[in-house]
């Protein structure tokens, strides 16, 4: 039995050696399209629970949630990509992602319509992002992966969830709102 285990262990090592350029990605559904994120930055996947709305923030910041005592912001990716707000259904999930921010780890949740599966994608199957023609901002895309003869958009988490950019956006949002209100008066 012992020998068997060892052998198997060795096999696994060999397998890994052969496919060392294979990375695993979590695919999920977002306003009708499939996207993928490298699993290394994913901390956990949670069922949708009611979020606490944070007032005076742009629409893509859906609110905050309680992650075992820590308060985590939740982003509506669809709105961030310029689509309509994500509706809440039975399969709606929050994917908690670890984002490096000025040498500090921060957790951010993203709201998705449904989570599919974890795919192993070989590096040779990943194409660079097209210069235009994609339906989201090009710098959000880290690559296009060929899976079963169709393309899955691999998201660049650092860019999509750039705290810097989102904070700046929300600051602008605040002053814009003030301007708008002023205009009303």
């Amino acid at each position: 039995m012992g020998a068997l285990t060892i052998r198997r262990g060795r096999d696994a090592a060999q397998v890994e050696e052969v496919h060392e350029d294979v990375l695993q990605y979590l695919t999920f559904q977002l306003s009708g399209e499939t996207y993928a994120i490298g699993i290394l930055s994913i901390k956990e996947i949670l069922e949708y629970t009611t979020l606490t709305q944070v007032p005076l923030m742009p629409a893509f910041i859906r609110g905050v949630m309680n992650l075992r005592g820590a308060v985590v912001p939740v982003i509506d990716l669809a709105v961030r990509f310029g689509r309509n707000e994500t509706g809440v259904s039975r399969r709606t999930c929050v994917v908690i992602i670890e984002v490096a921010n000025e040498e500090m780890q921060q957790y951010i949740g993203i709201l998705v319509d449904a989570v599919h599966e974890v795919l192993a994608i070989r590096a040779v199957d990943i194409e660079p992002p097209p210069q235009f023609g994609s339906r989201i901002r090009v710098d959000f895309i880290s690559g296009m992966a060929r899976v079963d003869n169709r393309f899955v958009v691999l998201l660049d988490v650092e860019k999509v969830l750039s705290v810097e950019e989102m904070a700046t956006l929300s600051a602008m949002n605040g002053s814009e709102m003030a301007d708008l209100r002023e205009a009303e008066v």
Binding site: P55, L56, M57, V71, G174, A178, E182
Partner: protein, 715 residues
């Protein structure tokens, strides 16, 4: 042994010693000197010198040595501590501090050693030294009597190396004090190779040393090892008399070895030397007894007991701040979990369960209070900086100013104390520069020539109040108002209450000083002061009477970690209003709030501005049928927040919202309710400020239009 850690300890200790030194020097300026103070001064310089020597920081040793000489003369009564000298010593203090700051930069230190301070110090030391030399005739034994030969018996404990002490460092340092004549190692404790522990120190020395230092000074060299090692130092002439004491705790083999060493030094113990043979077998005999003798060594009262042990040290434990923070975080979780359990128990309506959760809640409350008190430090820590500042600045300004400190034992959260230093410094400097008039002006106004600045701290209903007061000219309302009108901050014909006029000085770029000095007057700063106080969830108010003075009153919460909150709901959202800002709650009269988010209410004859949270925070939910008003206080003013439901008091742990929300004004953080939901904590002052600035912008744009029209008319 990690030398970096030891160095860190040294730097920390040196910093504390320097603080002591500064405090004493400033005290001394005010009062007569006591022996204790002078001893403490000496100890500061001496310990820094000693420790710096251990780390091979020769430059610091050199400098502190000179300073120590002067302080030693002070201690001996050969010099008097006048204003000049204490000024010089203060500058020396600064210099040592600066040298310690560049401790890793040898070249820089070398450079810093070329200071005129050394000459000044020598200038003090030399004439006094001459006088002292004349005195030595009738000096007692510990007094230095010129060059003398000393016998040293250095029997280090096995553990010195493990404790981070290198015996060779002592030798290096001793060389600065005098000259080694003969050094005899005593090797009888050296074990055989296989039993040799490289971390133990087996070396012992008997030596002859020539120096003009006093016995005490030589003993002080070994201050760090004296406790568990046997260090004996005698003048050669008295060596024989001390022999029995010296060998009292040594076993036979060691006695023999020491005896032999003494012979080599040319000394003879009073006992006949007949036993002093056959050292070789003695080595073998010595080993088994080693441990036992070591044990016996420790309680041995050596001659070196000159200073009383530092008793206060054992009463404190230094704990890493991070450990305490994580404990406080956990207790925060416990508070939340306790609240959740309590909620469940109440829902289940089992009285026994409810009772036990209440008992737990009480305990948690006690633990919470206990842990938070661990973070509390006395505000005196920052107050102690000010005597020096006031002294320096008043000299610089040519004003005579007395600082009065009270309430220095008021406790405040450590993290707040750290952030409070700069704003306080700013206010004090401002008070001295602008508040207090010149002596002539004061006399002309019928006031004593010496100005006063008061620093006071006290607790008041769950918050800490810090007052900075002066008896200067007071703020000039008209001038501030005129400036504010000129800057376009206030409309020319508006009526502004006094408190609000004073607050104008917190506006960015606001200064009424005609003269810009290098201390203050540039108008940078007061807005920074207000911002940093507000970041601490505090408020700042100003009281001022023309000709009598100005008082800045800073009100701060006791801690940043946990607050008592008042829970309200607006639509579907739940918010926490810090309880300390809540004055009362009333029901909203049905016709009071119409349309706009801003409105006013008649509160027992007072005008209460109302802010509809639902509308203002754009929650977009329909109003509940009955609405309530929470009357809150910010600074000296009141406002009413219109909410839907009042849910009662709730103790909350503040969770920061994180970087993503850093631009969000109006919310100071979040908390987790017993149900597990997240509720946002309203930041009342900035919420009101936000609302006010929006309104001000609105009016400002009107005023701008008006002004533009007026400007065209003039042309």
């Amino acid at each position: 042994m990690n030398l970096d850690a030891a160095k860190q300890t040294f730097l920390e200790e040196a910093r504390e010693l320097l603080e002591d030194m500064e405090r004493i020097l400033l005290d001394v300026e005010a009062t007569d000197t006591t022996d204790e103070q002078l001893n403490a001064l000496f100890r500061a310089m001496h310990t820094i010198k000693g420790s710096a020597g251990l780390f091979g920081m020769d430059e610091i040793v050199h400098f502190t040595h000179e300073a120590e000489n002067v302080v030693d003369l002070l201690r001996g009564g050969h010099l008097a501590l006048g204003e000049d000298l204490s000024g010089l010593l203060l500058r020396c203090h600064d210099h040592v501090k600066a040298m310690l700051a560049v401790v890793d930069d040898k070249a820089m230190q070398q450079e810093m050693l070329k200071t005129s301070l050394l000459d000044e110090l020598r200038h003090y030391a030399q004439p006094a030294a001459a006088a002292e030399a004349a005195n030595t005739g009738h000096a007692s034994v510990p007094e230095p009597g010129g060059l003398r030969d000393w016998v040293m018996s250095l029997r280090f404990n096995d553990d010195v190396l493990r404790n981070g002490m290198d015996p060779s460092a002592f030798f290096r340092y001793l060389r600065l004090l005098g000259e080694f004549l003969i050094v005899q190692p005593v090797l009888c404790r050296l074990p055989q190779a296989e039993r040799f522990d490289p971390e133990s120190c087996y070396l012992r020395f008997e030596l002859l040393f020539s120096s003009d230092a006093s016995q005490q000074m030589l003993l002080d060299v070994f201050e760090f090892v004296r406790e568990d090692s046997q260090i004996h130092i005698f003048p050669v002439s008295e060596a024989a008399a001390h022999w029995p004491q010296l060998i009292a705790h040594a076993d036979e083999a060691e006695q023999a070895a020491v005896r032999q060493a003494w012979h080599a030094l040319g000394l003879s113990p009073d006992a006949p030397a007949s036993v002093a043979t056959a050292p070789e077998p003695a080595v073998a005999v010595a080993k088994p007894a080693d441990k036992a003798t070591d044990k016996a060594d420790k309680p041995a009262a050596s001659v070196a007991e000159a200073k009383a042990p530092r008793g206060s040290e054992s009463r404190f434990i230094k704990v890493e701040a991070a450990k305490l923070d994580s404990l406080i975080n956990l207790i925060g979780e416990l508070v939340i979990a306790g609240a959740a359990a309590n909620l469940m128990a109440r829902r289940s309506a089992q009285s026994a369960l409810v009772e036990s959760t209440i008992a737990i809640a009480n305990l948690i409350e006690q633990i919470r209070a206990g842990t938070l008190s661990m973070r509390m430090v006395q505000i005196g820590d920052i107050f102690s900086r000010f005597p020096r500042v006031v002294r320096d600045v008043s000299k610089e300004l040519g004003k005579s100013i007395q600082l009065n400190v009270s309430g220095a034992d008021t406790e405040l959260d450590k993290s707040m104390v750290d952030k409070l230093g700069d704003p306080l410094m700013h206010i004090v400097r401002n008070a001295m520069d602008h508040g207090i008039e010149s002596s002539e002006a004061r006399l002309a106004a019928g006031k004593p020539a010496e100005g006063n600045v008061w620093l006071n701290a006290y607790h008041e209903s769950g918050s800490v109040v810090i007052e900075v007061a002066d008896d200067g000219a007071g703020l000039r309302k008209e001038k501030i108002l005129a400036k504010a009108v000129a800057n376009g901050l206030v409309a020319a014909d508006s009526v502004v209450p006094d408190g609000d006029i004073y607050k104008l000085i917190f506006e960015p770029g606001f200064s009424t000083a005609e003269q810009v000095t290098n201390i203050s007057g540039r108008g940078v700063g007061m807005d920074v002061v207000r911002r940093s106080i507000e970041q601490l969830r505090g408020t700042i108010d100003i009281d001022s009477a023309p000709g009598e003075g100005t008082t800045f009153r800073i009100r701060l919460p006791l801690t940043l970690a946990i607050i008592d909150g008042f829970l309200v709901s607006v639509g579907n959202a739940t918010f926490v209003i810090p309880l300390e800002t809540v004055i009362e709650c009333i029901e909203l009269p049905p016709d009071a709030l119409q349309g706009d988010a801003h409105n006013c209410l008649n509160l027992r004859g007072e005008v209460l501005p109302l802010l509809g949270l639902n509308r203002f925070l754009e929650l977009g939910q329909p109003h509940a049928k009955r609405q309530n008003v929470v009357v809150v206080r910010y600074g000296d003013s009141k406002a009413g927040l219109v909410v839907d439901e009042l849910l009662g008091e709730f103790q909350t742990v503040i969770k920061p919202l994180g970087n993503l929300f850093r631009h969000l004004r109006a919310m100071s953080g979040s908390t987790i309710l017993g149900s597990g939901e997240v509720a946002l904590i309203l930041d009342v002052p900035s919420l009101i400020h936000f609302a006010t600035s929006q309104e001000a912008e609105r009016f400002a744009s009107h005023a701008e239009h008006a002004q533009q029209r007026g400007g065209h008319g003039n042309h």
